[in-house]
Symmetry: C2
Subunit: 367 residues, 2 copies
C-alpha cells in the first residue's frame, strides 16, 4: 500500500482511513450481495438499509429529534443559496443574512430572486477577519429567517455560538465546513445544511436537517426538485441520489460514533488546531488573518511577511509531504484545513516545518 | 475476491469491472499523489487533469465538436426538468415535448413554471408501449425546442432515430439511459443531458453536451447555480462538483475507447439484447411490453402469464444470481436492464432460466 501524505485541502478533504479501506472493499461487493456499492439500485434492499442506517446514525451523532427531517440533496451548499429562499421566503417578506465571507455573499446574491434580503451584519470592511458580535448586528423588522455561514473556510473564521434570531424568525445555517466538529444543539435551528466534502464524506452530497413544520409546505409553487418537502418525504430518494455519497457519509457517521461522538470530535479538533494556534501565538514571523475571538477550529489562515516567502513556503511544504496549504486567491497566504479526520501528526509536522522555515528566513524578512 | 452476480438493475447499474478495480486503487492514492481520489481538491492539479482528460475523452467518444460545451451538473436528469425551460424558454413562448413515459412526464410537469408546454405526441393511451411515429406527431406553431426522452427505462422503449425538429427549433434530449450505447450525431442537438448512473458511471453526476450559442445566455435572470452558462464556463466546477462521479465517468470513457468506441458498444449491445429478444420472439409464454419497432436495446420488459408467476420468476431468478429484474411498479412484471457494461453471459444465463421456468410452469399457466 503506497504512502499517504498530509492533506490540508479545504475540501474535498482528508477522510478517515478506516472509511476509505472499507469503501475499497465495498466497491467490489457490499454486504456479500455480489454487487458493488456503486451498482446497487437506490430502491433496492441493500441501499434501503444504507439509507436507514445513515439517517439513524446521523440522528445519534447529532442528537436530532423526530421533530426534524434528515435527508440529502445534490448541488452542494451553493444550490441552497436559492433553495432556501425559494422554499421559505414569500415575495413580500424579508430574510436577514450575516455577511461573513464569500459563501455568505453567494447566499445574499440569490436571495433577492425570491424576497427581500437584509444584511444584518457584515465584516466586509476588515476583509472578513472576524465574526460580527451581537452589538454589531441589526436585524430587520420581522425577518422570516436569519441565515449565517457557521464557518468561513476562506477566511478562517467561525461562529463559536449561533446568533440569537429575533422573535418569530428561525435560524438557517450553512454548516458545510464545521458540522459535527463539536456538539451541536439542533433544536435552535430551522434548517441546517452542509456539503459533505469537509467533515462528512465526498463531494456531491448535501446533508439537510430541517424542522418538519417549516419544510412541509414551500411558500410558493416550485419545480418538483426544488421542494424540500419532496426530498424529505422520500428519504432523499425523490430521484436517484448520489448513492455513493450517502453510503460514505454513513461510514463517516459510524466512524464518529466509534471515536466517541461529537464531544470526542471537539476534543480532537481543539487539540489539532491548538498545535498550530499555540505556535502562531508564540511567534512573530507568520501573520494570522482571523481575529483571535473569531478564529476557526477547522481552517487556519496565516501569511509570511512577504508574498515571495509565501511562495517559497508552499514549495518547501509540498516537498515535505504537506499538501493543499495554498490560501484562497481572495486573501492569499496559507490555509491549513484540518477537519475531523485530520491527524494531529499532520499539525505537528506543519509546525515543525513552519519553525524551520521561519528560522531560515527571519533575517531576510527583516532586512 | 468475492464472487459477483449478474446485476440487471435499471440504474445505478453494473459498471465495467476494470473500472471498479482501478477505482479501488485510486481511492487510497491516485497518480502517486499520496492522496485518494475522494480527498483531492476540485481546484488542484490532480483533479484539473481528471477534468481535462474526462472532457477530452468524452469528445473523442462522442465525436463532439468545439461548437459544444461538455460539462457536469448535479441533481440528476430530474433537475433538468426545470433547468432546461428556465434557461431556454421565454415566458411568452412554447416548447414541445414527447410524452413517452414517466421521465417525459416529469419534464412536462415542470415546463409550465417557465413557459407554455405543448405535448406534440403521446403514447399514454397504450401505457407507453411505443415511440410515436412522425405521422403521430403534431408540433406547435413555433416551438423554441423539442424535448424527448431517448430511452424509456420503465417501459423498455427507445427512439431509434431522433425526431426531426421543426424549422427554428432545436432538439433537447434526456439520454440518461442510452447515451453512448451506439453512435450518435451530436450536431443534430441543442442540448443532450444524461444522468451518469446507467451507461456512464455512478449516480450523482449529470453529463451535459450543449451548443455554446444556446447555453451562453439564459432567457431570464436566474439564481447562479441554475445557469447552464456558469457551469459550462467553469468546466463543471462553478462550485464543488461530484469529483468522484466525474473521475469515474472519465474511467468509463477510457474503457469505451479501449473497447473500440461507440460502434463497438452498439455491436455489443445488439448482441446482448439480441440474446433476449430472439428468445422472446421464439416463444409464447412470456409477454413482452414494448412494441417491436420501439423496443429498447437497454431495458427489456416482459411479463409471465400471471402476476403470481411473475413473483415466482423473480424469486427463482434471484436464487440463481440474477438480480434486479423486478419491473417498475407502474407496469409490473420484469425488466432486464443491460447497459454497455453488462456481460453477454448474463443475458444467456437469464434466457436459460427463462426457458427452464417456462417449461416448468407452462402447463399451470394454460390450466
Amino acid at each position: 500500500m503506497s504512502e499517504r501524505i498530509f492533506n490540508f485541502s479545504a475540501g474535498p478533504a482528508a477522510l478517515p482511513e478506516p472509511v476509505i479501506r472499507q469503501a475499497q472493499k465495498d466497491l467490489w461487493d457490499i454486504d456479500s450481495s455480489g454487487i458493488g456499492i456503486l451498482e446497487h439500485s437506490h430502491r433496492g434492499k441493500v441501499f434501503d438499509k444504507i439509507t436507514h442506517e445513515t439517517e439513524a446514525d446521523c440522528r445519534t451523532v447529532g442528537g436530532i429529534s423526530d421533530e426534524y427531517s434528515v435527508f440529502w440533496m445534490q448541488g452542494g451548499a451553493t444550490s441552497q443559496c436559492y433553495f432556501v429562499p425559494a422554499n421559505f421566503l414569500p415575495s413580500d417578506r424579508t430574510a436577514d443574512y450575516f455577511e461573513t465571507g464569500k459563501w455568505a455573499q453567494d447566499s445574499i446574491k440569490d436571495c433577492p430572486h425570491y424576497g427581500a434580503c437584509h444584511v444584518c451584519a457584515s465584516s466586509r470592511d476588515t476583509n472578513f477577519n472576524a465574526i460580527p458580535t451581537p452589538e454589531q448586528t441589526n436585524y430587520s423588522d420581522n425577518p422570516v429567517y436569519v441565515h449565517f455561514t457557521a464557518n468561513n473556510t476562506i477566511m478562517g473564521t467561525e461562529f463559536h455560538a449561533e446568533p440569537t434570531a429575533p422573535k418569530g424568525a428561525f435560524l438557517v445555517s450553512d454548516m458545510s465546513s464545521n458540522i459535527f466538529s463539536r456538539p451541536l444543539d439542533v433544536s435552535k435551528y430551522g434548517l441546517i445544511y452542509a456539503g459533505a466534502q469537509k467533515n462528512l464524506g465526498p463531494s456531491g452530497t448535501t446533508l439537510l436537517i430541517g424542522r418538519r413544520d417549516l419544510i412541509e409546505n414551500p411558500v410558493r409553487d416550485l419545480p418538483q426538485m426544488m421542494k424540500f418537502s419532496n426530498h424529505a418525504k422520500k428519504e432523499g430518494r425523490f430521484n436517484t441520489p448520489n448513492t455513493f455519497g450517502v453510503y460514505l457519509m454513513g461510514q463517516v457517521f459510524k466512524w464518529i460514533l466509534a471515536e466517541g461522538g461529537l464531544k470526542a470530535m471537539q476534543e480532537r479538533n481543539d487539540e489539532v488546531a491548538g498545535v498550530l494556534y499555540s505556535f502562531l501565538d508564540s511567534q512573530d514571523f507568520y501573520i494570522p488573518h482571523a481575529q483571535h475571538a473569531s478564529r476557526s477550529n477547522m481552517n487556519i489562515t496565516f501569511k509570511c511577511p512577504t508574498p515571495e516567502l509565501d511562495k517559497a513556503f508552499l514549495v518547501g511544504a509540498g516537498s515535505r509531504g504537506l499538501d493543499g496549504l495554498k490560501g484562497h486567491r481572495s486573501i492569499g497566504g496559507m490555509r491549513a484545513s484540518m477537519y475531523n479526520a485530520f491527524p494531529k501528526a499532520g499539525a505537528k509536522a506543519l509546525v515543525e516545518f513552519m519553525k524551520t522555515f521561519a528560522h531560515e528566513h527571519a533575517a531576510a524578512a527583516k532586512a
